[in-house]
Structures are given as structure tokens and as C-alpha cells.
Symmetry: C3
Subunit: 472 residues, 3 copies
């Protein structure tokens, strides 16, 4: 009888387990999707690290509720000095931000010309082994990148990075899984042209993990040999089957790619030239080849909001960088000093992914239920999502707090809760007095006391009676 009882309890357990599963389904958005029912947010750190010979790729778990709700995934690339991130492409649009260091970057856009040539008398033929030294290279555009650069990449476009500095080159990227630019499911999928990933796509579920190989590896070597008109041995080398260096490899010796002079002076003429060479006959607009896809957000002289004592904020949207219209993403760069506060605000038409590049801040986030779903410190290297409509306030708690926000709209709009352009300013006094049951006198303070638009001191006196003169 004891056994029967235990069986009974076993079956009951089963029932409970099943019930639990069904309940979880409801919560997890199976019955009716509700992945944005977020009662708690967390500062997120990477969940997977892919190690390579000369760096590592750190991947955030895009199944984390706040990232699922936001429809994005996120990764950080740490490329050591002399490290080369080998060309790969994604099924999604991508927006990247150079958090540290400097380097070179190249993208290969289908059908565009090799506009970088190291000699005007370039002849792409060999005339025997003895004359090999006369050979010159030609390839598509190579750009210098440096801290603050924000780089838009369309799906299916191969991109590589090289760290030609002394410090690690750190790049963070957001991948828009929810946009129709991604025509696969809601998973980020890198496709490797070279290199590999011995650990496999650990961020995917339901696939038995195998090492991830490059594309050539999947074709028969004789196909590669025929397609590239090379011998079978070289074709097999392209498959890199014995290679375990990962996707960031160390370059020995000089990295002799053709590159423009360092910035300060944009090479305008070369860009124009590209335009003329553009179209190669596969349905691309001429302008794609010369479209600018990079801008720097770290130049305070171009800031949208700048207050010497408090900090600055710069935004990059599709008015600045038209390709963003196409990839449906935009970015904001912020840098504030100790005790500066970014006035409370919400994103009207976008989700935001905030990544801390330096320092730390105290952040509060409020959801649709009026609950504080985050109240804590975020520090360098952490990420937090701020879903559409959720209000957020940021106060620097270190000497300098610097961050980048990626937004899932080419023209993300914010609404502020306080300040000269805030929602309270736009409301009639009567709405405020009746809504909050306060006197007209109090309502006037609520509405007019703060004259700044975006940044203010957070350590001021706790009580104000009069409006102050606007600072910015």
C-alpha cells in the first residue's frame, strides 16, 4: 500500500508539474503572448563568452524577458591589439558602437566596386612568378573607427574589424530581431565567411550544439575549386577545418590594407568616386555603395544637449544618417558628471537598450502599472532595457557616467516628465490641479520650476519655492 500511495503522490506531482507548466505557459506568453508584462528588470551581463585567439565575443541571452520584449539581441566584441575579427554577416540589421579603442573596419556591399586601389595603374593580372612583386590589391572601402563611432550594418552584409591600436578594441552591437529586415525567426544568426566558433551557437535553443564552421566548410571542396577556379587543396584550406582560432585571429606582421589617412579630414573625393562606380548590375541603387553608415557620437561640439557642469547628450537618427531609416534603429550617447540627473522621460515609439560604457549610475524605471521595476546601480559593461512607455530617471553616481542607448525606431521620440519641454508644461494648470489635487500655486511650481529640458543637478536643495533661471 505504501507503494500505491507513493504512486498516487507521484501522479499528483505529475499533475502539479503539468499545471505548473501550463501556468508558466500563460506567463511566458504561450497562450496569449505577454512577454512585456515586466514586473522586474535587471541589469544584465553577458551569459555566454566565445573565446577566440585574439579576443572574445560576449553574448547576452536574448531570451531574457526584457530583451524578448524589446525584440533585440546584444553582443560585445573585445578585439585585442593586432586582432582581426573575420568577416561575418547576420540575418538582422545591426547597430554597433565603438566603446573603446580604435581600429579599421570594412564592409563588403553586394555589387559595389572595389574603390580602394593602391595604384592607379592597377592591373589585375599576373605575368609570371618572377613579376609577382608588381602586384597590387584592390578592395572595397576601409574606414578608421574610434571610440564613439556608431556603425549601421544591413542584414547579409559581411563586415570585419581590425584593431590597429595598442588597447583592446571594444564594440557593442544591437541586433534587431523584430524588424522585417530579419526574415528568419527571432534569433541572431552569424554567418561566418572565415573563422569559426568552436563552442557553437550557444544562444540558440533546441539545436544540439555543434561547432560553428564557415560557409565554405558546408560546400563540397570540388564546388569551391570550380567556383573560385583554384586547386582542390586551396579549396580545402578555405574550409578551415583544422582551424580552432575562433572568429578573432591574431595578425602576425603588418596589416597592409589600403586605408585612408586618419580622420580630421574626411576623404570627400574618394566617397564621390565610389558613387560613380556604384552599380554593378544586381539591382542595387547606386547610392547604396556610397551611403554613409558611420557617425561619431563622442564629439561634444556636436551634442544636442550640452551643459559644461553637467554633461552632454547626442542623438543619431535617420535625419543625421539616412541609412537608419532602412534599418529602423537609432542611437543616443550620454555623458554626465557626478550628481547630474537626466530628467525622467519615456520613449514614445521605441524600446531602448542602455549599455554603460563608463562609470555608474542610479537608475529608476517605472512600468505601465506605476510600479518601480528597477531601482539600482548600473555599472560599466552592464545593459538594461527600457521598454516603450516605461519611464526612466538616471543619476550619475561616479565621477562620470557614460552610456549608449540603442533605440528600435529610426526616429525615436522621448517625452519628458519634467522640464521646459515636458508633458507637464504642455498641460493646462487646471488639468494639473484636478489631476493631482493640488493648489494652483503648487501646480505652477510643478509646471514651471524646472527650466532645463534634459539635464539638471540631482543634489540641489530638497525644497524649491521659486523657479530658477534656465540653464539649458
Amino acid at each position: 500500500m505504501a507503494r500505491v500511495s507513493s504512486l498516487l503522490s507521484f501522479s499528483l506531482t505529475l499533475l502539479i508539474f503539468f499545471d505548473g507548466y501550463a501556468a508558466q505557459q500563460g506567463q511566458e506568453g504561450q497562450q496569449f503572448p505577454n512577454e512585456c508584462q515586466l514586473d522586474q528588470l535587471n541589469a544584465l551581463e553577458p551569459s555566454h563568452v566565445l573565446k577566440s585567439e585574439a579576443g572574445r565575443i560576449e553574448v547576452w541571452d536574448h531570451h531574457a524577458p526584457q530583451l524578448r520584449c524589446s525584440g533585440v539581441s546584444f553582443a560585445r566584441y573585445i578585439i585585442e591589439s593586432k586582432g582581426l575579427y573575420l568577416p561575418s554577416f547576420f540575418n538582422t540589421a545591426k547597430l554597433s558602437f565603438v566603446a573603446k579603442g580604435r581600429g579599421l573596419m570594412g564592409k563588403v556591399i553586394p555589387g559595389c566596386a572595389e574603390t580602394f586601389q593602391d595604384s592607379s595603374e592597377f592591373q589585375p593580372r599576373f605575368e609570371g612568378q618572377g613579376e609577382r612583386q608588381r602586384f597590387r590589391d584592390m578592395h572595397q572601402k576601409v574606414e578608421h573607427i574610434r571610440s564613439g563611432d556608431t556603425i549601421a550594418t544591413t542584414p547579409g552584409v559581411a563586415q570585419w574589424f581590425y584593431n590597429d591600436g595598442q588597447q583592446p578594441l571594444v564594440i557593442v552591437s544591437v541586433f534587431d530581431l523584430a524588424s522585417h529586415q530579419n526574415q528568419l525567426d527571432r534569433n541572431p544568426r552569424p554567418f561566418y565567411l572565415a573563422g569559426n566558433n568552436p563552442q557553437g551557437q550557444v544562444w540558440l535553443q533546441g539545436r544540439e550544439q555543434q561547432p560553428q564552421k564557415n560557409i565554405f566548410n558546408g560546400f563540397g571542396p570540388e564546388v569551391i575549386a570550380q567556383a573560385l577556379k583554384i586547386d582542390l587543396k586551396t579549396a580545402q584550406q578555405l574550409q578551415n577545418q583544422e582551424d580552432n582560432r575562433g572568429n578573432i585571429v591574431r595578425v602576425e606582421g603588418p596589416f597592409g590594407v589600403i586605408r585612408p589617412p586618419l580622420r580630421g579630414q574626411r576623404p570627400q573625393e574618394e566617397e564621390k568616386e565610389e558613387g560613380r562606380h556604384g552599380r554593378h548590375g544586381n539591382g542595387l541603387e547606386e547610392t547604396i555603395c556610397s551611403a554613409r553608415s558611420t557617425d561619431n557620437l563622442d564629439d561634444p561640439s556636436r551634442a544636442d544637449v550640452y551643459k559644461p557642469q553637467l554633461g552632454y547628450i547626442s542623438t543619431l537618427n535617420s535625419y543625421d544618417l539616412p541609412i537608419l531609416r532602412f534599418i529602423r534603429l537609432s542611437a543616443l550617447r550620454g555623458s554626465i558628471r557626478q550628481n547630474a540627473m537626466v530628467l525622467p522621460q519615456w520613449n514614445a515609439n521605441a524600446n531602448a537598450i542602455l549599455y554603460v560604457t563608463d562609470g555608474e549610475a542610479q537608475i529608476q524605471i517605472v512600468n505601465d502599472n506605476g510600479n518601480r521595476v528597477f531601482d539600482g546601480q548600473v555599472t560599466q559593461g552592464q545593459l538594461i532595457a527600457i521598454p516603450q512607455g516605461f519611464s526612466v530617471v538616471k543619476r550619475a553616481t561616479s565621477n562620470r557616467f557614460q552610456w549608449v542607448e540603442f533605440k528600435t525606431n529610426a526616429n525615436a521620440q522621448i517625452n519628458t516628465l519634467a522640464g521646459r519641454t515636458s508633458v507637464l508644461r504642455g498641460l493646462p494648470l487646471e488639468v494639473i490641479t484636478n489631476g493631482f489635487q493640488i493648489s494652483p500655486k503648487e501646480a505652477r511650481r510643478v509646471k514651471f520650476n524646472t527650466l532645463e529640458t534634459t539635464l539638471t543637478h540631482s543634489s540641489g536643495p530638497a525644497s524649491y519655492e521659486r523657479p530658477r533661471v534656465a540653464e539649458a
Copy 2:
């Protein structure tokens, strides 16, 4: 042994339960989503009522199959005389229709100027308590609204309403959950700037229901005090924690907002002025601030179809109101007399949500299988969805039947089954004779007898031999 048997039956029950669950999953669109496999539609009434001090909000269950298929949610706002619907915003685009009454409406659009000032010498500073009477207010645009007004609202934009009439002000709103304007999940989420919802978001699933508070409530009071430069006590008052009035509150005394003169004469000059003040530096186009977002559909002189004996139909699409292109919604207003019929038609590229504002009608709806999935009466206050491709015919059964249809496309196209611009008219006679196995003579009647385009009498003689002269 009896126990063992009962255990067996229990386990079998469990298995059946589990099987039933799996089967339901199939039906409910879990395995492969098929939420539009609709074999029966129903005239829907609100499932939740949120009571407030001066009115109530009635919410339809957006999980009802026909609303899930249509990708929208729906609510009705009943605001009593002197009632103020406090400012709130949504994660979705919204299209509203004023079904009854009149009032005032304000929206606060991020970054736009306070163009309503009650004196040209406005000085936003106080010069001591004694001079308070010289103080003037300034705020964003306030509009008169009245029955028939159709109002587009973008996500994240706070909106308020005030009933300055004697009768209840009734507004119905559709929320587009399926558009990419909504970047959260497929649930409508109001965010309250002021006011609250003591009953909680009862339309959400999987969240333990808590009273819904305003946004200020979620921040620490010291954060609010610092952001608004007010004292802590006022900050706490903004959190409204003791307030149980809901989101529609009663205004005691006059509601002295600055407002334009009543319509008849549109205040063109003010609108122009707004345009010039527009941009305030947060990435908005100047035109957003002055973009028209309201139009009235109750003026028969502007009707698209007008027949004195039968009624009229007016549509509002993005050619009339360009902001609709952005929010991907449009509207149709209809008003027909007893026994008038709207000729059978289908929506080519949109789902439609039909809400009855007055009277009643007999409606038949036919799905993709050729089955009649609705055949019944719809009466004032009821709603029915007409999914893309489903054909519908409406016949007034009361003295006057009036309705509004919200469509999930900025330029919804209809195709009629009968009439001068119908699909049958566009088909060659041979297709009709062969398709329906009827004689050329019958085919000609089918094709040419009805000369109206949209509205006809439904009580005419049952047999016609000849085409009649077109009426409209």
C-alpha cells in the same frame, strides 16, 4: 485493488487532460497560429468596466477570437458632465471616435511649443505672492470635440478629455496592437500621468492584479522633488497614493483652460503660428507639432456617398488626414435609414471593427469557407469584427442605423459584390455564365441590374427583370 484501479483511472484522466490540452493548443493557434479560423462571430459587449469618480471606462476583451484575429483592442470612455479624463498615453496607435456629447481635448506632443497663451505679454516668472493674480498659463493646443470627431493619437502621446457639455461624453477607441507602432506585446497598456485605476489592468493575463498607479508613484519622491524642483510634500502629492477617484475625475468650479472659439470657423492663424514654433530640439519634424489629427465624419455635406432616402457614408483615410499613414488606421462613418442596405462587400487589405453608435441592423458575414459566420442583430453599443476578405451585408432594422468602422489600414479598400463598381461588373459575361451556370440573359441581369454603388433599398420587389436608372 480498488485503489489501484482508481489510480489507473486517475492517470488515464491525466492523460486525457493532457491530450485535451495539446488538442486545444492546436486549435488555439499554439502549434501553428490560426487565430483567424473563425467559424462564428459574435456581437461583442464590454467585458470589464473600470469605474471612476466622474465616469467609467469599458474595455472589450482583446483575447476574444475575432479581436485577436484583427490584432486590435477596443474601449469605450463615458465621461460625465464636468468629468475630466486625466492625461494618459498608450503603447499603441489609437483612433478614437466621439459617439456622443461634446468636450475639450488636449494632447501633449513631445518637444512642441505651448502655443496657447492667455496673454501676449506672458512672463513665466512670479514676482512674489502679492502679484499672483497677474500670472497667466500657457499650454499646448486644446481642441473642441463633438459627436462625429475622429481623433488619431500616436503611441506615447499623453491625451486628456474634458466634458464641458450637459450630456455624457462618449468616446470609443481602437488600439492597433499588431502594427509596429506598438513595440511591446499584443496587449493595450495605458500609462497614467495622473489618476489611477484601482481595479488594475484586468484585461491582462498572467499578472497578479494590483491597482494601477500613475507614473510618479513609481519614482522615489526625492527624485520627483529634484526633477521638478519642488518640495517633497508636493512630490508626494503627485504620487496620488491616497487617491481613489480613478482616471476620470470631477472638476469642481470652472475649468479655465485657454481654448479657441467654438468651431464653424477654424482658427487657421493659430495653427500656422504653431508651425513656426514647432521644433524644440529633440528630433521631431516641425510638421508634427502642427499636424492635424482630428476630422469630423458627421457632416453629410462632406459624405462620400449620399442618398437622401437611404443615408450616407463618409470615409477618413490618409489622403484626408495624413497622420493616418503613420498610425496605419482609417475610419468609415455610416448612417442609413430603415430598410436601407449597404451592398455586400469585403475589405481587401484591412480588418474592420464595426461599432454601433445608434439604432440597430441585421448583419450577415461570410468567411473564406463560404459559411455564414454571423447572421443577427447588432444594436447600439455593440461591436463586431469583420476580418480581411470576409464579406458583409448590413440592413437597417431601426429608424436609423449609425455606426463607425475602424480599419487596420491607412487606405482600406473595399470591393463590392453588387452594384455599379462591383466585382461582378468588372468580370466578363462569359466568366459569369460559366462560373454560375446561368444563361447570358441571367448573367446580364446579375451584372447590370443594380446601378447603385453602395446603398440600396432592401425592401424592393423580390423579382427584377430590367435594370433601373442609377440613383447614386
Copy 3:
């Protein structure tokens, strides 16, 4: 005790079964959708055949993993000589390709005029039975179609086909379920104006299969009689309830629709005339009525790539046919000779659905993991999906291999792995030497040996040392 043990084992089975179900859910994309985790592709054949009096409709199972991932469904229409595919419309945008034969096609676009009239003195009234012979027809545009024609159809627009040739007319169509043009769920749903489908919508799940009837069948006959102003008997005939001919019926005698002269000379004047008659007052742009929606991809003189010894490739995107921008689809037609190879490539921003119209080819497809997920023969009548980012190489293995690819982007971009405009050409030599651990000499061969852009011989010598002169 034996029974108790068996019970235990039974319960364990249950647990395993449940576990299996949960695991399958993970795989099938329930927990987190991952329908594009494709480790194996297959050449697909139709899963359902709907037989009609004068032809048949063959439907592919759109739940097949590769089609679910691609977000499309697919069907083949085989219309016998004198067969008429009766007018029906879909909830999705559709792109069709005429694989064999020739015929007539008509679409009825809402609100557009009947621009085809068989006499300029047309009077749409009858003047008594005796004069009926003077009656003329008028209807919307009728077009000749022939092998190679690619036809765009918007949702909700009724379309018919007639085979006026001697051979079967074969049309294949892709339906874009994932685009927002489809506002229902991800199932293709035909709506029949005439005809029927006695077998029911066998491709749908979770609905008890019933014969599918035409739209008129769903309305009450008295409604139809009143709407069309016909007698009840004719109304009942429109419901076709006794009809079992299916949706492709045989036309006895001549099919006397008004049609333009056969092509060679496009009837430019008539098209212009349509433009002027366009708008009929239901919110359509004038241009919709005269918008071209058909182009022929079988004319080698208009090919994008043409090599007499190898074959040709033609693309049709929204630059060629602007309506494609609206329906978010494009097409590619290929025709290659024995042993010609289409150089390996991937789709940057689209999924592709490849359908073989003639001959056979050896195809290899490589996924994001670098695995070969397809390596086999595809033959006439088969279909295979090539998801975004997956690389593919095609080699003809019959005298001539001809195919059509439908792509889920109005301007699908490809990237090639080999050839003069390939990604390898765009990469600096240093990236290639470091990425593949090959010598600069080998890297130059890899980069420069193949001078063709798209097509090459696949039977050339296995080893090449020098680049050859470009052929195309």
C-alpha cells in the same frame, strides 16, 4: 503488485511523453520561436491536390519547416485547354509565374472602370427582349498571358485565368503570409466568388474540413436577390449549391471576352485611357487602376546576365515593376545549360523559394552553422526554400535547367561567394590570408581567378593557376 509496477511504468511513460512534448515544443518554436533552425532541407512536392472539372490545384504544405521559416505558402494551378479558373481572391499578396502554356487573365480592381468595351456606342440598357442582340459587354482589363509572365496580385483582388491554348496552362504562385499585407493569421485563404472546393481547405489545421463554397453561398438568397435586383431563383443559382465542378471549369463553345490583340505590340493607348477613367470614389489612387502588374521574364534579350554558352538570368524587382514595392515580393528567372554553375551566393535580405520549371540540377545549400543542409537533385515540379543568409550553389545536370525564384523582398539583394563582384573580391588580401591561413599567392588566386560574376562552367579543370579572361 504486478499491476502496481505496470502502473508505475505507465505513469513514467506519461512523464516521458510529457517531457517529449515539452522538448518538441522547444524545437517547434513554442517556448521561443525558432522555426528557422533548419538542419535539413528537402525538395518539396505538393501535399494536397484539389481536383476540378478542367484542371487541378496542387498545394504545398505551408507548415513544412522551410516554408514556415520563409513565411510563405505555394500552389500550382494546372488549367486544361478550355479550362476557366473562376475568380477568387486571397488574404495575401501573391506573385505568380506562368510556367507553361498561354491564356487570358483578368483581375477586378475595386473602383476601377470597365475599360474593355466591345463598341464605342455601348449603352448599358436593354430596350426590350427583341433587341437583346444589340447588347454589348463591358468589363475590366483582360490580358494575354504566356510562359514566363510574372504577375503581381494584391490581397483581396479577384483574379481569373482562362486557357485558350491547346496545352495545359501551368501557373505557380507564392503567397506572402508574413507581410503585413496579410492581416489574418499565417494561413493562405482563398475566397471564391464563383466555383467551389469540394475537398475543403485541407491545408488548414484545427478546422473540421467542410467543402468550401463560394461567397454568395454564405448569404441568404433573399439578400442576394435584393442586392443584385434579381429574382430569388437566379440568386440561388449564384450560390452554386449543386455545383461540384471545383474552381476550374470547362468552357463549352467560344469564350467571347473582349481582349486586346496578342502581344508584340503593347496596347499603350488603352492603358492611358484607363488612367483617365480611374477613380470611382472609394479611396483609390488613380494610378492603381492602370498600374502594370505583369512582366515577362523569358525574353533573353532583356536578361540581366546572358552568356550564350551557359545561360541567362533575369530579375524582376520594384524598379522594373513598381507594384512589387507594395506587395514586398520579387522574382528571378534562370535558365542554364548542362554543367553550367550559378556561382555560390546568399540572399542578403530575403528568403527565396526556388521552383524548377524544366530539367534538373544539383544543388548544395549551407546554413548558418556551416553545415550542408541540402545536397541533392531538384527536378521539374519540385520546390526548395533558401532562407535568408543561407548560401546556395546550383549546377545543371540536364540539358537545360530552368527555374524561377520568388523572393520575399521587393529588392532582394544577393551576395556572391565567388566572382568579379563577390565578397572575396571586396575583402583586402590581408583579411583573406589571415582568415584562411593561406599564402598571399593563394589568396590572390582565391580573389582574382574567377572573373565571371554569376555563371561559370562547372566542368572545367580541377586546378587553375592563373586568372582567365572574363567572359561576363
